[in-house]
């Protein structure tokens, strides 16, 4: 019986370690994506904000931020996720009346950057949704230029 206990003990420890490791992997560390997105802002754009996109393993359907855009200023929003693509993360922009300005999914293609020359000062909503995403995890950067 004592030998049996001795044999089971390492298995339990390994099992616990594996479970812990799975939990860690399931968490979204968006920092590498947000910091990786900043240099991808097109030339001439000044960095303003970085946004974490954490879909919490698929339990959250959208992540939303807001910012006041100013008339006469051009803004760029890009999305970074695992690999080269956006991993199914779609960014949509809504104006202050919740009219959709644009969505980055076009003809089943995920565009990783949008440029918005703003004509109307107001609060804009930057919404990230997940479309066939595998990681539900990414980052985004917002920049501006005149």
């Amino acid at each position: 019986m004592h030998k049996m206990k001795k044999a089971i003990y390492p298995l339990v420890v390994v099992g616990m370690l594996m479970a812990f490791s799975f939990q860690v992997n399931a968490q979204c560390d968006s920092e590498p994506y947000t910091s990786g997105c900043i240099p991808k802002l097109a030339s001439g754009f000044n960095f303003l904000k970085s946004y974490k996109i954490d879909g919490q393993g698929g339990t959250k359907t959208k992540v939303e931020y807001s910012y006041v855009f100013t008339k006469g200023t051009q803004y760029m929003i890009n999305v970074c996720a695992t690999g080269e693509s956006t991993d199914g993360i779609v960014v949509s922009l809504f104006d202050s009346n919740r009219n959709k300005v644009v969505s980055s999914k076009v003809n089943d293609q995920y565009i990783s950057a949008i440029a918005y020359p703003c004509n109307t000062t107001g609060i804009y909503y930057i919404q990230y949704t997940f479309d066939e995403s595998t990681q539900f995890c990414g980052g985004s950067a917002l920049g501006f230029k005149r």
Binding site: I38, A42, N46, F47, L48, K49, S50, Y65, S66, Y67, V68, F69, T70, K71, G72, T73, M76, L93, D95, N97, N99, V101, V102, S104, V106, I111, S112, A113, I114, A115, Y116, P117, C118, N119, T120, T121, G122, I123, F144, K145, R146
Partner: protein, 299 residues
Amino acid sequence: MRNLFFVSALAFLAACGSGNKPDEQAFLESLDSAAVEGPEISEEVISSVLQQIPSPLEISVLLKESGTKYDKQLLNSPDNISKYNSNYHKALNLGIYGTDLGYTNIYEQNQDGLDYMGSIKDLADGLSIGQFFDIETIGRLATNSKNLDSLLLITTQNFNSINQYLQEQGRANLSVLLLAGGWIEAMHITCEVAASDPSNKELQETIGSQKIILENIVLLLSFYQQVDQNMASLLTDMQVLQTEYENIEIVTTYEESTFEIVDGVMVIKDNSSSEIKITDQNIENIKNLIGSVRNKIIS
């Protein structure tokens, strides 16, 4: 209630002391800490309003792009730092100096920028958030104008980190003051320039469009009016400014936007438009009101 008792007890002790002059700074700090009881509104709501406020850097870029010359006299002297002893004044002036630093950076006035960086670091240390400023790196970047992009990036990141940290630490009141200070300074610079050059309609429109941001600042300050006397007083000043802004009309016409893909980037064509109806007199009134609020903060 507990804080009220604490403040009363402190005031009583100060009044009935052994004749020694009370430590003014300690007293101011105790008032500050007493004030941070926290508003009844949730931190998520405060955070969501705070994140909307645009960076003052946008206005500095606008000023430079519109051909306005650099004018150091418009800024708050970094030497004024010794005047700021309470957390309230430290946070507001940290925001003001942050805008001034962005302005000097945009105009590539690196020595002036370093002076502001020194004062910013001292104020930030005083608020226990000095760890977010790497003076050595910033100093190194400031020695070469080719590093402008990196300098702007690192300073923007530093201020973003501070705001995030303050909110995580339950000190969002300081974040509100920091952003309010930054906005007031950007408004002060813009109004002064616009008043001296009435032909610059773009600047006038920018001042008019700040109506939206002012609404946010008033909302944020209103969350704290019951728990912080200083913030309630600033709110009153901002509400006076808001009354002046009621004379400014923003007319928006909505049209669905279109887009095209250019080099992998989705470029939107905004077919909506907005018109801002603002007069020279409005600019003068706003300039005077902002100047008055700013003087209270920096003096």
